[in-house]
């Protein structure tokens, strides 16, 4: 049998409101061509993010009802702590209200002017948090990771030679942390191999650089390892995860991804002194160390979700459904990131809209067209998100111009996905009608969230 069915059925549904193309044109204009400004009720299929948008299981909802809301020492915390320890092997667990809060705390301690945080690719909020401290974020992605249309097994790997060279150039003392994102979100949800992580770890040990994992999508990454890396086919995802984390000194996690939670995150680590420093900061902006700014019920939901994501039937379904959409698009010639990633389909706007220059934000224009055509909300990962200005206020474009269609976990059915494919193919056929955009208002940091744009005529 070729069809892979979901290892669950639907227990509670949420209505979708339909609108017309004409209405959507108007809504997009009112939202200044920025999909972050659109009310969710005006969206048919919301693929803006897979973060915090999962459908929780009935077990998680039961956990929600059992949450102990004591300010200090809640059993929900101890259950959460134990689960994280069992999966990561890291003894010190610190809850936070989201992943970015975990990053914020870690980078406030390790960051500062003149320092470099090295990564395969840093995500937008991660980079913003690093730069907020005055430090710089450095992406050292392997060469194949930068070529959207060329398939390779582990396009999220770090470029080992570049890492060595970078250390030689800047000095290990100026690199407080190496942090690998699994899977590599900005680079197409592509996995990192155990072999690559081992090598990175060796270099880190030689140079005395602490090594962390940004673990948001660790289970999806481990599933790819099981499928693609030699020697892992017979290991369970749980064992692979254990090995993956064993190479790291710590991790940051947004539980809104692979832990199926709607809110929450954590830091886990081995070093007691660093953990103490983290807890001191935690109390200022997050909350007491046994709740970290989360309701007790959310700690329960995360603990249960972390167990559920290790179910291999689920992971098989999850990864295959991303592949399903990717392959449909490839059949019709739509330029997409290959191979399919773990949590999203990435359209290559540079290739699809060669007539629109980076300074006219082709991926943002494409995302707008998908909304108008079918009410699909996606997100630009290109020069609007990652572009910078040089000293003459000229745009330094991002490496890639991608539109990410992130698939929420356990939310949409196959017929929703078929509809998405049809909309994309329709837009692709009429791509010549898409016009570039121009920014009319922007914030100094993380501008893509609030920027206002208008079309060029």
């Amino acid at each position: 049998m070729n069809t892979i069915i979901e290892p669950f059925r639907i227990k509670s549904v949420e209505p979708i409101y339909f609108n017309t193309k004409e209405e959507r044109k108007y809504i997009l204009e009112k939202a200044f061509y920025n999909l972050f400004h659109i009310h969710s009720k005006d969206v048919l299929i919301d693929l803006l993010t897979d973060s915090g948008t999962s459908a929780m299981s009935s077990n998680q909802w039961a956990g929600i009802m059992q949450g102990d809301e004591s300010y200090a020492g809640s059993p929900s915390f101890f259950k959460f702590e134990k689960t994280v320890q069992e999966i990561t092997g890291m003894p010190l667990v610190i809850p936070t209200h989201q992943g970015r809060a975990a990053e914020k705390i870690l980078f406030s301690i390790l960051g500062g002017k003149g320092k470099y945080f090295v990564s395969n690719t840093l995500f937008d909020t991660t980079r913003a948090n690093i730069e907020f401290t005055g430090a710089q974020g450095i992406d050292l992605l392997c060469a194949e990771g930068k070529l959207p249309s060329v398939p390779a097994a582990f396009k999220g790997n770090m470029d080992i030679e570049a890492f060595k060279n970078f250390i030689a150039e800047k000095g290990a003392a100026n690199i407080p942390l190496c942090i690998i994102t699994v899977t590599n979100n900005s680079g197409g949800g592509q996995p990192v191999s155990i072999q690559n992580i081992k090598k990175v770890k060796e270099i880190c040990i030689e140079n005395n650089i602490p090594f962390f994992i940004d673990a948001c999508r660790f289970a999806e990454n481990c599933w790819f390892i099981k499928q693609r890396e030699k020697g892992y086919a017979d290991k369970s995802v749980k064992e692979i995860a254990w090995e993956l984390f064993s190479y790291a000194d710590g991790c940051t996690m947004s539980a809104k991804k692979d832990a199926f939670a709607n809110i929450g995150g954590f830091l886990a680590m081995n070093d007691e002194t660093l953990a103490m420093q983290c807890r001191n900061l935690l109390i200022i902006t997050e909350g007491f160390p046994t709740y970290g700014g989360l309701a007790g019920r959310d700690l329960e939901a995360i603990a249960i979700g972390l167990q559920e994501v290790l179910d291999e039937n689920y992971l098989q379904y999850r990864i295959r459904s991303i592949e399903y959409l990717t392959n449909k698009l490839i059949e019709e010639g739509v330029p997409v990131m290959q191979p399919a990633g773990g949590h999203a389909v990435y359209l290559d706007a540079k290739e699809m809209l060669p007539n629109i220059a980076a300074s006219q934000y082709p991926a943002q224009a494409l995302a707008g067209a998908l909304y108008t055509e079918g009410g699909i909300r996606s997100v630009e990962i290109g020069s609007l998100m990652f572009g910078k200005y040089d000293e003459h206020k000229k745009l330094i474009p991002a490496q890639m111009e991608l539109v990410r269609l992130a698939i929420p976990r356990r939310v949409y059915t196959q017929s929703h996905i078929d509809y998405v494919a049809e909309v994309i193919i329709e837009v692709y056929k009429n791509r010549k009608q898409i016009k570039g955009l121009q920014i009319i208002e922007e914030a100094p940091a993380l501008r893509h969230f609030t920027a206002k744009l208008k079309p060029l005529f």
Binding site: T53, I64, S70, Y71, A72, I263, A295
Partner: protein, 459 residues
């Protein structure tokens, strides 16, 4: 004939319960030892009645739970955000809303936007996290509460009031440019949940208008404050708590809110503003610390629960039962001659540890000691609000606050009258054997907000 008493009862019944564990004296002794005599470090399953805080511990209503099921978890533009925005506008009267995961998230953002190095922030008594954020942003807190507030015995009705002369002296000394805003709390927590009067607020507002100084409102217990105004201030007896809340807010320019108190939720907070420029800056900053400005680090369902909770919190019957329960407990303690802060405040009973344990000097933490003894006696968990909470000055010296209190904070809608009886009786029993109680020594002290994680041992 005996006079017939007219009791009030709660305007709700129980729909879901949470089972409690009863512990033995030996179990409690061990748990306390393991927690380093710090009630914050006790595991909640070893606690019988948890009066550590009224923050995030409320029982939500069935309507709020229904709202939880209507959570719209979209990353941007969630329906629940627009609902909440609407409620904040209609019930509280503030124009612009930035949700945050808790009150301290809002304080962090506000302090970073408004405070420059060397600024002075006058306020009606410090609160731990508020003052810390002000200090981390380079500012210095100055207490301008009336002197009566520092006297646990004084029975003035509005001990949360501001002494305008103190404020004026600060303005004259430092100049308006050094004062980004006056920080006022309704129901002043550290003073024992004491209210501020509308008259005082009006005077403060007209003074600040003249001087062009903003008033920022820590509104976490605004409804409880409004109830005291309704009960005690001339001219307000016939006004609803809802109207009084709106009037209070109208004298201020913005607010930070921990919705975990008055608004009856387990998580959530916000920053509310009337000035567009500050709002816009806050919206850009919230993305870095909390989350996109239409969710601010909260699940959609939690914004929905908050919107419903806010509307419930300003209901007259709800507030009367809420504060009535606190007053019931306070009166019981007074019957047993336990020394408490008077008048009785809105969210808890504050026991005066200096009077309770006069033989223990402040350096041996009488309030911390008393909190530990109460737990040992009955499994009731309370919190120190004295020298440990006050922390250290910039030069390393301890702050020695006049008030050395143990706070018995009552969670909203959680405990029954029988629970209140157990609590009062336990306080009475410890009071009976007070002379045998010995003080504590601090053996671990964290850098920030030490009361959360400090450890002690018996002398």
């Amino acid at each position: 004939m005996k006079k017939i008493k007219r009791s009030w009862a709660e305007p709700y019944k129980m729909k879901m319960v949470e089972l409690l564990k009863i512990t033995t004296s030996a179990q409690r002794k061990k748990a306390l030892q393991d927690a380093g005599f710090n009630t914050f470090l006790l595991k909640s399953e070893d606690v019988y009645i948890d009066l550590l805080t009224d923050s995030g511990t409320a029982a939500m209503s069935d309507r709020q739970w229904a709202g939880m099921m209507l959570g719209d978890e979209a990353y941007a533009g969630s329906k629940n955000y627009y609902h909440l925005e609407n409620v904040v506008k209609n019930v509280y009267g503030y124009k612009y809303l930035v949700p945050t995961h808790q009150g301290r998230g809002a304080e962090n953002i506000l302090s970073r936007i408004l405070i420059k190095k060397g600024d002075i922030i006058p306020g009606n008594m410090y609160f731990t996290t508020t003052r810390l954020h002000q200090e981390l942003a380079g500012g210095k807190f100055e207490d301008i509460i009336i002197d009566e507030a520092h006297d646990a015995e004084n029975e003035f009705d509005f001990k949360g009031n501001i002494d305008l002369n103190k404020l004026d002296r600060l303005v004259k000394k430092h100049g308006v440019s050094k004062i980004p805003y006056v920080s006022i709390a309704t129901s002043v927590n550290m003073a024992g949940g004491q209210p501020i009067s509308m008259k005082n607020l009006k005077e403060l507002s007209s003074y600040c208008k003249k001087q062009k100084i903003r008033i920022i409102h820590d509104m976490t217990r605004v409804a409880e404050n409004a109830y005291f105004i309704q009960q005690k201030e001339k001219g307000y007896a016939n006004k609803s708590v809802k109207d009084i809340v709106k009037e209070i807010n109208s004298y201020t320019d913005g607010a930070t809110m921990s919705a975990k108190k008055d608004a009856l939720v387990n998580i959530g907070g916000f920053l509310a503003l009337n000035e567009w420029d500050i709002f816009e800056e806050a919206r850009n900053m919230v993305v870095v610390y909390e989350g996109l400005h239409t969710y601010g680090g909260l699940a959609g369902r939690d914004m929905e629960a908050m919107a419903i909770g806010i509307a419930e919190s300003v209901d007259d019957d709800h507030i009367r039962a809420r504060v009535g329960q606190v007053i019931y407990l306070g009166n019981k303690m007074l019957e047993y001659h336990v020394p408490i802060v008077k008048p009785i405040g809105g969210h808890g009973i504050f026991v005066d540890a200096k009077k309770f344990l006069p033989h223990i000097p402040q350096k041996n933490f009488p309030a911390q000691t008393l909190a530990a003894e109460i737990y040992l006696d009955s499994g009731v968990r309370t919190m120190e609000r004295g020298v440990v909470s006050a922390g250290r000055k910039a030069n390393g010296e301890n702050y020695y606050p006049k008030l050395e209190l143990v706070r018995f904070t009552i969670p909203r809608r959680v405990y029954t009258q029988a629970h209140m009886d157990v609590i009062a009786e336990s306080a009475a029993r410890v009071f009976e054997k007070r002379n045998k109680i010995k003080g504590l020594k601090m053996i671990y002290e964290p850098k920030y907000l030490r009361f959360f994680q400090a450890k002690f041992e018996k002398l």
